[in-house]
């Protein structure tokens, strides 16, 4: 028995040494995403997209002569965990750069850690305005903040003949931020804003909120949350006989999943999204989009996840471009290099512009925003 234990620990030691030796041959990138909890579906898609980017880069020989290695950690859809995971990735895995953390509240929780350890992070999904306006120079965001979404949506409100809208948003920085930015834009356009209802991120029954919205005099409901809660909302709205127009924001809708899970209840709904996997030719970078979608399908992933996973793909490519430009895998050099990169993302060029208080600006890229509509279980594009 003792012998077995000894040989086991000897093997473990040997593995640790080998692992240590292998470590120096790779460049590590920390990935901080929700793989369990309320945003599990979305976070898993992003990670799978990130893996496609890493494999593509490594197949071409890696960067600076080394392979890249994703160190993936689960932040459990929980801000406290997200901060802890960031700390672990930086101090224990010694990653020089992070990508994360999907949700706005998760990213906001990570941000002080980035300041503390002076490590940059590419933000791939979060849309709360606060992330790039509070003066955190380690933040580089490739997803649109809700104000950009609202601005893009502004062009179409006349065509949609909006008169009065209600909101149903997830009760966190993302949802409340969206309600604020969209309300401001609506008021500028002379559209009345009615009720603003919220729901907890883990809530499964929104019947009470929907019953209330059914009774108001608004004709449209703007809904902001992730795909799992969205499918429940569509099903429950249909069960309550709620016939108002529903428009979702945030780009985490996975419209195909909504069609599959909510069926007829999804018809007539509109979604602000940041990627067009259904129409590769209409995307800013058709060649890369086709490659990505083909690779996604080849790996047996659900097509519905494309609208989410492309962020992980673009995020890792952004990080890799910065490391290459920096010439070394060190936090300060990568941070400086992020300002100088220009890569063709699946949703437009990724170029960081300064955002936030002078002297400690965050980087914000300006991605495209699209509006799609589901009709008879099919996705169609609306011109914004």
């Amino acid at each position: 028995m003792t012998l077995t234990f000894r040989s086991v620990s000897a093997i473990a030691l040997a593995i640790a040494f080998l692992g240590g030796a292998a470590e120096a041959q790779t460049i590590k990138i920390g990935v901080n995403e929700p793989l369990t909890g309320a945003f599990a579906a979305s976070g898993t898609y992003v990670v799978n997209g990130a893996k496609i980017a890493a494999d593509e880069i490594n197949a071409k020989g890696g960067i600076l002569g080394k392979k890249i290695e994703l160190v993936i950690e689960d932040n459990k859809s929980n801000p406290t965990e997200a901060a802890a995971v960031a700390e672990k990735l930086i101090t224990s895995d010694k990653v020089p750069v992070l990508m994360g953390a999907w949700g706005s509240s998760l990213t906001l929780a990570v941000m002080p850690k980035l300041m503390e350890y002076e490590t940059p992070m590419v933000v791939e999904t979060s849309s709360s305005g606060k992330i790039t306006t509070t003066g955190n120079p380690y933040i580089f965001r490739i997803s649109p903040p809700s104000a950009i979404e609202a601005a893009a949506f502004k062009g179409i409100v006349d065509k949609l003949e909006l008169k009065k809208v209600d909101f149903l948003v997830i009760n966190n920085d993302w949802g409340r931020g969206t309600a604020e930015d969209f309300s401001k834009m609506m008021k500028e356009k002379g559209i009345a804003v009615g009720a603003v209802e919220t729901m907890d991120q883990g809530a499964q029954d929104m019947s009470a909120q929907l019953s209330k919205l059914k009774g108001t005099d608004s004709e449209t409901i703007i809904v902001t949350t992730a795909v799992d809660q969205l499918t429940l909302i569509f099903k429950q709205a249909a069960a309550l006989g709620l016939k108002k127009r529903i428009i979702t924001t945030g780009g985490s809708q996975n419209p195909d999943q909504i069609i599959a899970q909510a069926g007829a209840a999804a018809n007539g709904t509109m979604h602000l999204t940041t990627f067009l996997p259904w129409f590769p030719d209409k995307t800013p970078n058709p060649e890369a989009t086709n490659y990505f979608i083909a690779e996604w399908k080849k790996r047996g992933f659900d097509f519905a996840g494309c609208t989410e996973s492309f962020r992980g793909y673009d995020g890792i490519r952004t990080v890799a471009a910065a490391i290459e430009k920096a010439g070394k895998a060190e936090p300060a050099a990568i941070k400086a290099a992020l300002w100088d990169i220009k890569i063709k993302g699946l949703n437009g060029d990724i170029v960081f512009r300064k955002s936030g208080p002078v002297g400690k600006e965050s980087g914000q890229s300006q991605p495209n925003v699209y509006l799609i509509e589901i009709t008879d279980g099919k996705i169609g594009m609306k011109t914004l």
Binding site: A40, G202, Q204, S211, G215, T231, A264
Partner: protein
């Protein structure tokens, strides 16, 4: 007015399932005096069994329900035999810690087997709701309400009208005397825990298809079940049923007329009030002591 009616209908549908969650736990927590942290996991387990049986084995939805209940019964019996039986007679803290461990282990198990991404179960019910004037309700939810009601009645009759129920009540009032009267105490412990567990699995099997299924779905359900049991008075089946409907009413009206952001807080505000003014629960019989 029609909004209020809709809230009432929602309350009925939600309350039925809360009641089902409550009676399962009141048997275990109230009568057996085991602080059962695995209740939520059994709820999750029931939902996943539905998913497996309907989607992976291709069995009919209505046939899958009793299978999920049976699976919950078996898992409950296993937990009692392997974890609780060796601990019988040890103090409540030890049992509680073991149950917390079992909860975490089982939840991680579901995560390991099925992953964190939510699954959904398709049902044979039509998507179009039943419309009754100004209010409407989905057929699936009506079915869930009816099934929950049936399970509640069966459980009530089982505890209050059968020999087994009589033996259960006797055992947890005075184990030694019950044993002297010829009651097989070991069997009663196992069957009570198994019945309570199968009710949790039934709630999960019924509600899984209404919502989505994921490993942590049982956590909020368990918290609500504890709230309902405390609201209704420990070990009181009628109390748990009324407690379930009260919690649903508080949530519906709270979200509808106060603030939806505080929906889940409403129920707990009521519980704090109940604990301050009537610590034994709203419907505890006056003779119940300790």
């Amino acid at each position: 007015m029609s909004e209020f009616l809709q809230h009432l209908i929602n309350m009925l549908v939600l309350g039925g399932t809360y009641a089902l969650l409550g009676i399962g736990l009141t048997l275990i927590f109230g009568i057996m005096n085991v602080v059962n942290f695995t209740h939520g996991v059994l709820y999750t387990f029931g939902a996943y069994i539905m998913f497996i049986v309907v989607h992976q084995l291709g069995v009919n939805f209505f046939l899958a329900l009793p299978l999920a209940v049976l699976a919950g019964w078996l898992l409950g019996a296993t937990i009692e035999l392997t974890l609780l039986r060796p601990l019988r007679g040890s103090d409540i803290d030890t049992t509680m810690l073991v149950m917390i461990g079992a909860w975490i282990a089982m939840q991680s198990g579901t995560l390991w087997i099925w992953g964190g991404v939510a699954k959904s179960v398709t049902t044979p019910f039509p998507e179009a709701p039943l419309v009754l004037g100004p209010v409407s309700v989905s057929w699936l939810r009506l079915f869930v309400l009816a099934a929950a009601g049936m399970l509640i009645v069966v459980t009530y009759l089982l505890i209050n009208r059968t020999k087994l129920g009589c033996a259960m009540r006797a055992t947890f009032q005075d184990q030694d005397t019950a044993s002297l009267m010829g009651v097989n105490v070991d069997l009663i412990y196992t069957s009570t825990f198994a019945i309570g567990s199968s009710l949790a699995a039934a709630a999960g099997a019924l509600l899984g298809p209404v919502y989505v299924i994921f490993p942590q779905m049982g956590d909020l359900a368990a918290v609500k079940a504890f709230a309902i049991v405390i609201l209704g008075g420990l070990g009181n089946i009628t109390g748990a049923v009324i407690g379930g409907f009260l919690l649903a009413l508080a949530e519906e009206l709270g979200a509808g007329y106060v603030s939806s952001g505080y929906r889940d807080a409403m129920g707990f505000l009521i519980i704090i009030a109940v604990l301050i003014f009537k610590p034994t629960g709203l419907f505890a019989r006056s003779e119940r002591v300790g």
